[in-house]
């Protein structure tokens, strides 16, 4: 039942607004890919194109080698064999939980459909609520029903649109874990839309980062985090200290010192330093601490460095805190430094 999804050169615009532009990507069978990006970047539109809820201006979508949409072809959503979990779950309020799950099983004979639906409900641990109506369930339970309903017809591909965004923080982590477990058990191919980079890194085999309708970078979570291809990608995954610099012969010189800038042409650049790459010690640039915030597993310390307009933020393990207003020496771990050409330049 799991299938390979291919999206080829899809364009979609609404009037003058281009939502998706020249986008191609592939999801391997059984793989879970996250479409990540800010709201309005076209990720939901792309999901709806795959679902058949939008018909693209151009491009094609193939599932398991079968064309869903292409030149002169548009398969309506009910014929695609694609499951979808909606952001608001879209449970039918006039049907019981069991009837909701049976909805997509109308091609099976009634006894079989009933058994399949019950089984799906048991797998999400809600068999006891079979005859309740959706509004009596909590948000987390509704999410599980929506998932069971989408998976019951055994779709070749499961689409999820911000499936956890309606849950509160603690519940979200638990439901997310259960959901991903169920997906892996089913071996389903999955395409999940989210705007939260941490969530994307938690659930995805690969992440497709989108910006203004285009695919910016695609790869495993570590790839995107460690080796972002653009300043945009780097900023999306991590709060960075950005300081201006100038590249000369593959070295970027800044007020904090010089850093390697392999492959960059000469000219102005932005040097990004991860907060956890900064540390205090006996050597390094002199700085003055401005304030300190304690967040449990770490502490955040802001400090001013002469020659830099904005204070730098350092993320240190808790304990041994320097006093505010104290003078410290700042050193930078090279592994936490990324250099990009200054925006507006090549």
């Amino acid at each position: 039942m799991t299938a390979r999804l291919e999206i080829r050169d899809v364009h979609q615009s609404f009037g003058a607004v281009v939502a998706v532009e020249a986008l191609s990507l592939t999801v391997e069978p059984g793989e879970i890919v996250c479409l990540l990006g800010q709201s309005g970047c076209g990720k939901t539109t792309l999901l709806r194109v795959v679902a058949g809820l939008e018909s693209p201006d151009r491009g094609s979508v193939l599932l398991g080698g079968r064309a869903l949409v292409g030149p002169g072809l548009f398969l309506p959503p009910e014929q695609r064999g694609v499951g979808m979990v909606f952001q608001d779950y879209a449970l039918f309020p006039h049907l019981t939980i069991l009837e909701n799950i049976r909805f997509g099983l109308s091609r099976l004979d009634p006894a079989k459909a009933q058994a399949t639906a019950l089984q799906a409900l048991e797998r999400v641990g809600l068999a006891h609520a079979a005859n309740d109506y959706p509004h009596t369930l909590s948000g987390g339970q509704q999410q599980r029903v929506a998932l069971a309903r989408a998976l019951a017809p055994r779709p070749g591909l499961l689409l999820m649109d911000e499936p956890f965004s309606n849950l509160d923080q603690r519940l979200r982590e638990r439901v997310r874990g259960q959901t991903m477990e169920l997906l892996r058990e089913n071996g389903a191919t999955g395409l999940v839309v989210t705007h939260d980079p941490v969530e994307a890194m938690l659930i995805a085999d690969r992440i497709a980062l989108m910006q203004q309708g285009r695919l910016v970078q695609m790869g495993a979570p570590e790839d995107l985090y460690e080796r972002p291809g653009t300043l945009f990608a780097a900023r999306y995954f991590c709060d960075l200290n950005e300081i201006p610099g100038v590249v000369r012969s593959a070295r970027a010189s800044t007020a904090l010192g010089d850093f390697d800038a392999p492959g960059l042409t000469d000219g102005p650049c932005v040097v990004c330093i991860r907060p956890q790459a900064l540390s205090f010690g006996a050597q390094g640039r002199e700085a003055v601490t401005i304030n300190r915030r304690f967040i449990g597993e770490a502490q955040l310390i802001a400090c001013a460095v002469e020659g830099l307009a904005a204070p730098l933020e350092a993320r240190l393990p808790p304990g041994g805190a320097p006093v505010a207003g104290g003078s410290v020496r700042l050193s930078v771990a090279a592994s936490g430094v990324l250099v990009f050409p200054a925006p507006g330049r090549g």
Partner: protein, 556 residues
């Protein structure tokens, strides 16, 4: 506040008690006659009429709402608005217009004869519009918007995401309609159909012109023609029972309505573009109701009014009728608005179950047919008038006559009773959009309860109050049965004048009055149409829409 609200509710349902009082008097031996000859036929005709109109308005209203939601075709946005136009035509005016249009020597049959090349009236096999079938059809063509509006709003606001979910689960377009859209729309359909049927029960002009002897018509005839008030009250009780049955059926059909879906962001389900024959079919289906329910009758009225004015100038008593109509309606609106505000505001500030019950009971008047209300008002009114006359007699030493019935105060009271539901609903919806923390903030900043009302609630409710006033005013103006029965002697409003002309068979003389009513009736339709064209506003609204409160609450 709570006490006042309770008293108000009692005053508003007093007519029902009055009705029972008169009916209990006994009709002086006429009861066997009524029971044997009048009641069975009237009940049967009323039931057939209700069934026919009910089926037709549900089919038309729901079908058109789905057509506007699931399909896209040229002119759809215009139709969406134009389909509300028949609301501007009261039942007695559409009957009046079509009766003359389809007359054996009227324009339609003339045209047909010319087309077919035959001569002589009555030779064409045109079915007579003066029949049960004709009455059902004509009433349905002006009452279907009551179903169309809430159903369309429901499809727009709730169904989008659910319809997409249904398709993702393998349901085709037909399946989506029958398995998801229709069951979801059931509460809206029930609400709309019950409103349409209440109008049907209330109707007196159309049924009478078209020769259908409904209960309302029988009440009027028994009272006015046979001067048998207790007999009329007894028939009115039967009518009242029907109205109550209607409310119960509606409640039953809306059971489990709590399941308002929590859809936050409802994208409009992608509509299908229609082409070829399907397009022609859709255009026909969408334009027929507008043509029959509004365009033809309105054109007819314009032509007739033009002819009348060209022939004899403006009717000399038109100015007086307009003045009478506006005066009565303005007082009625004021009374309904004050009462409705009181009932709804009491619920807001006291949060007492009793206040909520008062609101509900006080709003029942909307379901009580006009003839029933009018008869129920009479006994108390006569007592009060007598007492007042005696008092004035004693105090001033003159005869004052019947002050309440003579001044139209009775009619204003009746208007308020019947239409308070509209104003109360509007204020309630308006208040529900105001966060309770506004009240707290005003009080915490040192304002008294009265000050909070004056400085916070009233300014914020102004649009809701304005829209409610408009709706009530137009309803008062169009109102026929109560006005006929309770107006002061020789006091003609536009509606009663029209009724009189139609009863005499001098149709063209009533055309100017009818045109005035339709023109004023257009105002709320325009208001509703403007709101329906702003889906952004509708999406932002946290509550599911009922036709009247949402219109009232969302207007600028």
């Amino acid at each position: 506040m709570l006490l006042a609200s309770c008293l108000l509710a009692c005053a508003l349902v007093a007519p029902v008690a009055g009705l029972v009082a008169i009916a209990a008097e006994g009709s002086g031996g006429a009861w066997p006659h009524l029971l044997n000859y009048v009641l069975p036929g009237a009940v049967r005709d009323t039931l057939i009429l209700l069934t026919g109109v009910g089926c037709l308005v549900i089919a038309m209203g729901t079908g058109l709402a789905w057509l506007m939601t699931a399909y896209e075709f040229p002119g759809r946005r215009i139709f969406e608005w134009a389909l509300l136009l028949p609301l501007a035509v009261p039942t007695y005016i559409i009957a009046y217009a079509w009766l003359d249009l389809l007359h054996p020597v009227g324009p339609v049959q003339d045209a047909l004869r010319a087309l077919l090349g035959v001569t002589g009236a009555g030779v064409l096999p045109v079915p007579d519009v003066r029949s049960m079938g004709g009455c059902i059809l004509l009433l349905s063509f002006v009452l279907y918007p009551y179903v169309f509006m809430p159903t369309r709003a429901l499809f727009l606001m709730q169904a989008g995401g659910l319809l997409e979910a249904a398709r993702m689960l393998g349901a085709g377009r037909r399946g989506v309609f029958f398995r998801v859209a229709l069951p979801l729309a059931r509460p809206a359909i029930a609400l709309g159909a019950s409103l349409a049927l209440m109008e049907t029960l209330n109707d007196i002009g159309a049924s009478e012109f078209l020769g259908v002897r409904t209960l309302s018509v029988s009440i009027y005839a028994t009272w006015v023609n046979r001067s048998n008030l207790p007999g009329a009250a007894q028939i009115a009780l039967a009518l009242m029972a029907l109205a109550v049955a209607l409310i119960l059926i509606e409640r039953w059909a809306r059971r489990r309505q709590r399941y308002v879906s929590q859809t936050q962001r409802a994208p409009r389900a992608r509509p299908v573009r229609l082409k070829g024959w399907a397009l022609a079919g859709a255009l026909t289906a969408a334009s027929l109701p507008v043509l029959i329910g509004f365009v033809f009758p309105a054109l007819y009225l314009v032509a007739q009014a033009w002819r009348r004015i060209a022939f004899a100038g403006l009717p000399h008593d038109l100015g007086e009728q307009i003045r009478n109509t506006v005066t009565l309606s303005a007082f009625g609106t004021l009374a309904a608005l004050c009462a409705g505000f009181m009932l709804a505001y009491a619920v807001r500030i006291t949060r007492a179950p009793l206040a909520a019950a008062s609101l509900r009971v006080g709003s029942l008047g909307y379901a009580i047919p006009g003839t029933v209300l009018a008869i129920g008002l009479l006994p108390g009114l006569m007592e009060l008038d007598g007492a007042l006359a005696d008092a004035i007699d004693w105090a001033l030493g003159g005869t004052a006559g019947l002050i309440l019935s003579g001044s139209g105060a009775a009619l204003v009271y009746a208007y308020a009773t019947r239409f308070v539901a509209i104003s109360a609903g509007g204020v309630e919806a308006g208040l529900s959009k105001l966060s309770p923390s506004l009240d707290c903030a005003a009080r915490a900043l040192g304002e008294t309860a009265g000050g909070a009302l004056r400085r916070v609630h009233l300014p914020l409710l102004r649009p809701a109050l304005g829209a409610a006033a408009l709706l009530v005013f137009v309803d008062c103006m169009k109102e026929l049965p109560m006005t006929l029965l309770l107006r002061p002697l020789n006091y003609e409003t536009l509606a009663t004048h029209l009724y009189g002309e139609a009863a005499r068979g001098t149709y063209e003389d009533g055309a100017v009055a009818a045109l005035c009513i339709v023109l004023v009736g257009l105002a709320p339709v325009i208001l509703l149409g403007r709101l329906s064209r702003r889906p952004s506003l509708a999406h932002a609204a946290p509550n599911p829409p009922a036709p009247i409160p949402s219109a009232v609450a969302a207007s600028p």
